[in-house]
Symmetry: C2
Subunit: 204 residues, 2 copies
């Protein structure tokens, strides 16, 4: 089956838009999704940003909120900006890595995004994460324990390093097996078309 | 007729994508386009950038080139990065303002973008601009003379100030009469839908 890799950061507003629809989109297109949580913080830091560009550049941040409000409304789901923004998604990302191994990853990811951007909850809080784990069908205590393992911590660091090495600078990003990078929720369809064809003029 | 304002900067790669298709898109949708050249330089400078973000952030710049290559190819037209990038589009913008008054503005804008991003010419050179003026049906000498007038210079400064006041931080941007801002070539359709309806859930 054709595949794309879905690189997501839990604090990212546009990743929420994609997380809400990528499973249906993949099913409809007959493709597989590889789920890859990573952290944007170290990537932003490496280019001199100490926070989200939506905080650093006010006009851009103001626009982003309205842009997502409009898109979410047109797709029939809610959106609210979490407080604080950006949230700390490190533990959620580690849990997602556990879930991806155990099969409840996608449901957990969906549930964490929903908690943050639809319900306005704080995803760095254990209560929020416990609820998402329960919804996803995970063993809550076991998941938290595994998320603290050296192996999982190292995998998240390694995902982030891999993202940076592959030229990823924002989220969501979609990467095809032949190395084509697509950035932003509005490029999800293009990335799917890339692996399913027809592709139009060949660019290789 | 419904209307959107097309805010464009001649040095902007994504503005090229929109300039190539906005007239057809507007005609098909039955809407008017108000053409508004402005300068991104002062807006970038105000947020601490001394060049294009595509130069300042390498991964982003690298991605942008590939993204536009793919989009241009899928739409059946060429794309090449101009040297130098970003180009100085001040004189082109002043000439566009003259043309917008005299009726040859859209043809001139189209021609300048084509010269820069399809033919790889330098749009700060008089020869390139003269050719675009001729193609657009302008009186070349008269256009250059008027572009140097205090009134036109002041109008370009005022457009740039207006863009900034309206929260515009990049190009292309599309603004509706009721104040909805859409940023990026990939939001052209959304901006047209906003003024023509149906709009889906009302967001006011």
């Amino acid at each position: 089956m054709p595949q794309i890799t879905f690189w997501f950061e839990f604090a990212s507003t546009y990743s929420y838009l994609s997380a809400m629809r990528i499973q249906d989109a993949a099913k409809n297109a007959g493709i597989d999704i590889e789920w890859k949580p990573f952290l944007l913080g170290p990537i932003f830091k490496a280019q001199g940003w100490e926070s989200s560009p939506f905080n650093l550049y006010r006009a851009k941040g103001f626009y982003m909120v309205r842009d997502i409000e409009r898109i979410a409304a047109s797709r029939g789901f809610p959106f609210r900006m979490p407080v604080p923004f950006p949230q700390n998604g490190v533990q959620a990302a580690r849990l997602a890595l556990v879930g991806i191994e155990q099969g409840w990853g996608p449901a957990f990811v969906h549930s964490v995004y929903w908690a943050q951007f639809a319900e306005g909850l704080n995803i760095s809080e254990r209560e929020t994460l416990s609820k998402a784990l329960t919804v996803a069908g995970a063993n809550v205590e076991d998941a938290f324990a595994q998320a603290e393992s050296a192996e999982i911590k190292s995998r998240l660091r390694s995902n982030t390093g891999e993202a940076q090495a592959k030229g990823i600078f924002g989220a969501p990003s979609f990467l095809t097996p032949d190395g084509e990078l697509f950035w932003g929720d509005d490029r999800l369809e293009s990335s799917i078309l890339w692996v399913t064809g027809p592709r139009g003029p060949v660019l290789k």
